[in-house]
């Protein structure tokens, strides 16, 4: 699993770095201009987010540079941290202890091992079929019937979202796309870039022009202006990056639209869970962003869809 570094990768990485320099400069300029307290708080949050982005880009870049295995390890770790936040927020009981141990230390590593050896036939069904059936069996053997369905559903949901869905990001490296051999690293980069930039643009559009809230009970920050502006811009950016992908410009726009729409949905769903549990963020891991789950909510929902769309339309199987 080696990824070649070609001219296009260079442009992608260069573009992202230029963007980071640009937003760092903007943040610095804003910090000099803003005087009101609420404005200062916004700018501080913006700058904290930018700093966190530098770190995240560095880590992601490093993982890509080590070839496929680095990316698999990075996303395994991401899954681990996200699942940890998710289960922490979810009330489980004593009787779930052993099945949780299985989830963290056997199913999660196994899923990423299957991704690393590119065994599509098993990694695509291991969690939805085998783990789905084995976890409730283990929990039932523990003998605690109270809220059984609810508890089991929560553990399985966490596993699906935090492990199964996230693992589809490095799974992009296993696709055999004719004429694109050895270049899948760019596809993964493209996917993460579009999903994350859509988040950023929705945030920026929402902060500047946002008026009409989409679902105020779920997420007060999501507005129609932010949604439309962010999705449109991210789709255009995705279309403009078609040269790095196996897609035509039009197909690339369609793929980006799918990524951004699913990403938006992911953010909304994960917010609803946070509201229900009465918290603002899943954790405190990433400064300005909250926890790991707060940062990857859009990736979770977009990755499996992007993977399967690409697999269906662009691979011969």
């Amino acid at each position: 699993m080696s990824l070649q570094f070609d001219k296009q990768t260079f442009w992608l990485v260069g573009g992202v770095l230029a963007l980071l320099v640009f937003s760092s400069l903007i943040g610095w300029w804003l910090s000099l201009r803003v005087t009101s307290d609420s404005g200062k708080a916004t700018v501080q949050n913006f700058n904290a987010r930018t700093r966190a982005w530098w770190t995240m880009v560095a880590v992601f870049g490093l993982a890509m540079a080590t070839g496929g295995i680095g990316s698999v390890v990075l996303f395994a770790l991401t899954s681990f941290l996200a699942l940890r936040e998710f289960i922490t927020l979810t009330p489980t009981r004593r009787g779930d202890h052993r099945s949780l141990f299985w989830v963290f230390f056997i199913i999660l590593p196994l899923q990423y091992y299957l991704i690393a050896i590119k065994w599509y036939g098993l990694f695509s069904v291991m969690i939805p079929v085998y783990a789905f059936l084995l976890i409730p069996i283990r929990a039932a053997m523990a003998g605690d019937c109270e809220n059984f369905l609810e508890r089991t559903a929560k553990v399985q949901w966490g596993l699906m979202v935090c492990v199964y869905c996230v693992s589809y990001v490095p799974a992009l490296l296993s696709l055999d796309i004719p004429g694109y051999e050895g270049q899948n690293g760019k596809l993964m980069f493209y996917f993460v870039l579009v999903a994350q930039i859509s988040d950023v643009l929705q945030y920026v559009w929402g902060k500047t022009l946002g008026r009409h809230k989409i679902a105020p009970t779920v997420s007060p920050n999501k507005t129609w202006e932010g949604f439309i502006g962010g999705v449109a811009c991210a789709t255009l950016i995705g279309a403009a990056l078609w040269w790095a992908t196996p897609f035509t410009p039009l197909a690339s726009a369609g793929m980006s639209l799918a990524i951004t729409l699913m990403g938006f949905g992911g953010g909304l769903v994960m917010s609803a869970i946070k509201r229900d549990r009465g918290v603002k963020d899943y954790g405190t891991l990433i400064e300005g962003h909250g926890g790991m789950m707060d940062r990857i909510d859009s990736l979770c929902f977009a990755a499996p869809v992007f993977f399967h769309l690409t697999r269906y339309f662009f691979t011969p199987t």
Partner: protein, 200 residues
């Protein structure tokens, strides 16, 4: 070296989020009293203190637990500088209160679990009298309520494999024994102070 490693390990396993809500991590004589649900509790509270406070803070543990096997003895004696007390059959010679007072001396702080043992339910057990007697004998010492959350899910009683969830340790505002305050009243107030930290 072992200490640094153990502190890092305790923080990693517990993922503990440490909050100081009511007092700061100052170097002064204190008794930290906490709810008790997991074998990790003592270690994690101790590890969540900053190094200079930690160096002067001793864990009060049950002798029957901490003197079992060479590893526990080593950790209790060499690393935690623990005060081991007899909880099953206290006698005039083997009096937990005297041991705790002696350990406190004029420089050390203590971490104690006034419920007297790990609880498995959601509710805290009534506090034992030792806390009251400590407060009565040492009015100069601050009594800090500590709430430990989620560690019972990370390593519940009776399990030996831990699950990596995120725990939290919250330090509350110090409590003082009021003049003429009765034992029962003070113990209830102390327990309520720990419980109140859940709402933060």
């Amino acid at each position: 070296m072992t200490k640094t490693l153990l502190v890092a390990l305790a923080r990693l396993v517990s993922g503990a989020n440490v909050r100081w809500a009511g007092c700061g991590p100052e170097v002064r004589q204190r008794v930290y009293f906490a709810n008790h649900t997991s074998n990790l509790d003592g270690l994690v509270v101790w590890a969540s203190l900053p190094p200079r406070v930690r160096a002067l803070t001793r864990l009060v543990g049950a002798r029957d637990y901490w003197s079992k096997g060479p590893l526990r003895r080593y950790v209790a004696g060499r690393v935690l500088n623990a005060v081991l007390i007899e909880r099953k059959k206290p006698t005039a010679h083997d009096n937990p209160l005297a041991d705790m007072l002696a350990a406190l001396g004029d420089r050390y702080s203590l971490i104690i679990f006034p419920e007297g043992g790990r609880q498995t339910g959601l509710e805290m057990a009534p506090f034992k009298g030792g806390l009251f007697h400590l407060a009565k004998d040492r009015p100069d010492v601050e009594f800090v309520p500590v709430l430990i959350e989620n560690l019972n899910r990370i390593l519940p009683k009776g399990e030996f494999l831990s699950v990596p969830l995120l725990g939290s340790v919250t330090f509350g505002a110090p409590l003082k024994l009021e003049t003429g305050e009765e034992k029962v009243r003070f113990l209830e107030r102390a327990q309520a102070a720990v419980k109140a930290l859940r709402e933060l």
